[in-house]
């Protein structure tokens, strides 16, 4: 098994008294796609922002270990971290409509990133931008390179953002719900694009989503998050074919099937899912609740398929 590219252990992120990420651990190997799923507010974005050192909220406390290529990112100086951001680890955000600075052309913004990390001429950076735009499927890139963000559709903007993220050939691409704001057809195209780019560039990808369908299409490994914790982790086949955590069961059942009715549904509960102080964060919504759930279950299991649930082993296999 190759060395992990990124290894996060016991990541904890607190905003004042609120714990958004509570002891999260996972790893990504080179070239691998990790799908991170979980509903809104489960801490997916915050944990990735924490990995990249992008949390600027005053009073936010981040602890744990984030080792990337042998270096602990949380211990790096600002300047060292800047050299990694955008060059070795790139990130794409949820909403392509607002992700680009409105007053500069697309090409300028791509060239800016290239020139932040490599000593190349303006001309060369622009040529690279055109090549990248072509690669992500923007028609007539020689002209479009001079367009402003508002002249692009949402799908085109997301393509432009992806082109920008890929401009320095990062070893790891973190994509935070890159398709959520787009219509279904465009979503499929963007996923296709990411898959193709991964084959061409060999980057590892962390794909954040709350859509199990997306995960099943693209991920090698799956991390299921709930209330700021990992509740299940394993290969795609394992998680989809023998899910072990009640929350994952619910997630899988909520994916619309082509035939047959939905089997189980998550009960809707008022309030937001957040990390409970003690105990299993999912306990309040769990139909299999036990007395032991008052205490948080550790993430444990065998051979790469882990889950955090007190249910006896035989009940975890459905």
């Amino acid at each position: 098994m190759p060395e992990p590219l990124l290894e996060v252990s016991d990541l904890r992120i607190r905003f004042g008294g609120f714990t958004a990420v509570d002891g999260l651990s996972f790893s990504v190997r080179p070239g691998e796609v990790l799908g991170v799923v979980g509903e809104s507010g489960s801490g997916k974005s915050v944990s990735m922002l924490g990995v990249l050192g992008l949390i600027r909220t005053p009073g936010a406390k981040i602890s744990g270990k984030v080792v990337f290529r042998g270096r602990d990112l949380l211990a790096l100086k600002n300047a060292e971290m800047r050299a990694i951001r955008g060059r070795e680890i790139a990130m794409i955000f949820q909403d392509p409509m607002t992700a680009l600075t409105p007053v500069y052309t697309i090409g300028w913004q791509i060239a800016e990133q290239v020139r932040a990390h490599e000593k190349v001429s303006k001309r060369a950076a622009r040529d690279r931008a055109i090549k990248l735009l072509d690669e992500v499927g923007i028609p007539a890139p020689e002209q479009r390179v001079d367009a402003y963000p508002h002249e692009f559709s949402g799908g085109m903007r997301q393509r432009a953002v992806i082109a920008m993220a890929l401009s320095c050939n990062p070893a790891l691409l973190i994509a935070d719900e890159p398709t959520t704001a787009l219509d279904v057809t465009t979503q499929a195209q963007i996923l296709d694009l990411l898959r193709r780019l991964r084959a061409d560039h060999g980057s590892a990808v962390v794909m954040i989503t709350h859509d199990m369908g997306v995960v099943s299409e693209i991920a090698d490994e799956v991390l299921v998050m709930y209330g700021g914790r990992a509740v299940e982790r394993g290969s795609r086949t394992e998680v989809f074919h023998s899910p072990r955590h009640p929350y994952t069961w619910g997630l899988l059942d909520s994916v619309p099937r082509v035939s047959g009715p939905r089997v189980r549904r998550l009960p809707t509960i008022p309030g937001t899912p957040g990390a409970a102080g003690q105990g299993c964060p999912f306990a309040d919504r769990c139909t299999h609740r036990l007395a032991a759930c008052a205490e948080a279950p550790p993430l444990s299991g065998t051979a790469g398929h882990l889950d955090a649930c007190w249910l006896p082993e035989e009940e975890k296999t459905r």
Binding site: L54, R82, V103
Partner: protein, 322 residues
């Protein structure tokens, strides 16, 4: 872009025409008032009245009157003030313009530099002690009325400390550029600072708010994820976008000040500018002068607006299409 500029200035010309008609109607077509008596001033003798009536065509239809008035104003430049018997109005305004322009341009440079500097500093240093300190300074500037501050400045620099620290301060008044840049600037220094202080405070406060909003925008997060330096993110991304509303406000303020809104500063510092001219004309009910300055002010406000719109389109690609 060229098309946009042409369209914008075409619109400005139309607006100016509309304003001139409106001003004309207000001054001369108000029912129940004899416009000749207004122009000639209080207690004018019948001969003057008759002369005014003939030269402005007050016995002829309104459109003809309008054309005649504009001719007096813009072609023959011979609109006369009857209060100050025989003084021509237009040359008076033309003499006053450089004074006002000198005052406002200098103050504008100072307040933009101060305002943008303070606003950026406060916005970028939010969460530290610098932010509230700078903003306190801004509030201080905003809350001092120009006439009071001006009088205090005069008291100190012209009287109390004139014998010692401020012996280099020239007497109140204006020194044209023909007397040398040094004298010109020296005479205007305190008027500039006094006028600029108020606006610097307002602009700093506004920019700080804009900047803090911009720094929370998604595109700033993208810029950070790109690995740009904090300084570049602040200046090239956040500040660049925050300046857009500042520029449009600046255009309006600048236009209004050149148009006569610097009146208080001009009066306090004895600068014979447009504001002071208007002020005197109002005191004497000198109608031709009032009308002249109103039209002049309108001209500058409209012009400044047009320039701002063009600048705005340069700064913000999103409005260029419109």
């Amino acid at each position: 872009m060229i098309g946009y500029i042409l369209r914008r200035f075409g619109a400005a010309v139309l607006v100016l025409f509309a304003i001139s008609v409106l001003v004309f109607l207000i001054f001369f077509a108000t029912p129940g008032v004899d416009p000749a008596a207004r122009i000639a001033g209080k207690n004018a003798d019948p001969a003057t009245l008759a002369q005014v009536r003939a030269s402005f065509g007050f016995d002829r239809p309104l459109p003809v009157q309008y054309v005649l008035m504009m001719k007096h104003l813009f072609v023959s430049h011979d609109l006369t003030s009857f209060v100050n018997r025989g003084t021509l109005v237009i040359p008076q305004i033309i003499d006053a313009v450089p004074v006002t322009l000198s005052l406002v341009v200098g103050a504008a440079v100072i307040w933009m530099v101060l305002g943008v500097g303070m606003g950026t500093l406060a916005g970028a240093m939010r969460g530290t002690l610098v932010d509230p300190l700078v903003m306190l300074l801004g509030v201080f500037g905003v809350s001092l009325p120009v006439y009071w501050l001006g009088e205090v400045v005069n008291l100190i620099t012209q009287k109390q400390l004139h014998g010692s620290v401020f012996s280099w301060v020239p007497p109140l008044g204006y020194a044209p550029l023909s007397q040398g840049v040094g004298q010109w600037a020296l005479h205007l220094l305190f008027p500039w600072l006094t006028l600029a202080l108020l606006y610097a405070g307002i602009y700093a406060r506004l920019l700080r708010g804009e900047l803090i909003n911009a720094l929370n925008e998604d595109y700033v997060r993208t810029a950070r994820a790109k690995g740009l330096s904090e300084r570049r993110i602040l200046i090239r991304h956040a500040l660049r976008c925050s300046l857009i509303p500042i520029v449009s406000l600046f255009g309006l303020d600048f236009g209004a000040l050149v148009g006569g809104a610097a009146l208080l500063t001009e009066v306090v510092f004895g600068l014979p500018g447009v504001g002071k001219l208007t002020y005197q004309a109002l005191q004497n009910l000198d109608l031709p002068v009032i009308m002249g300055t109103v039209l002049y002010a309108a001209f500058f406000v409209v012009l400044a607006n047009a320039v701002v719109d063009v600048l705005y389109a340069r700064l913000d690609p999103r409005v260029r299409r419109a």
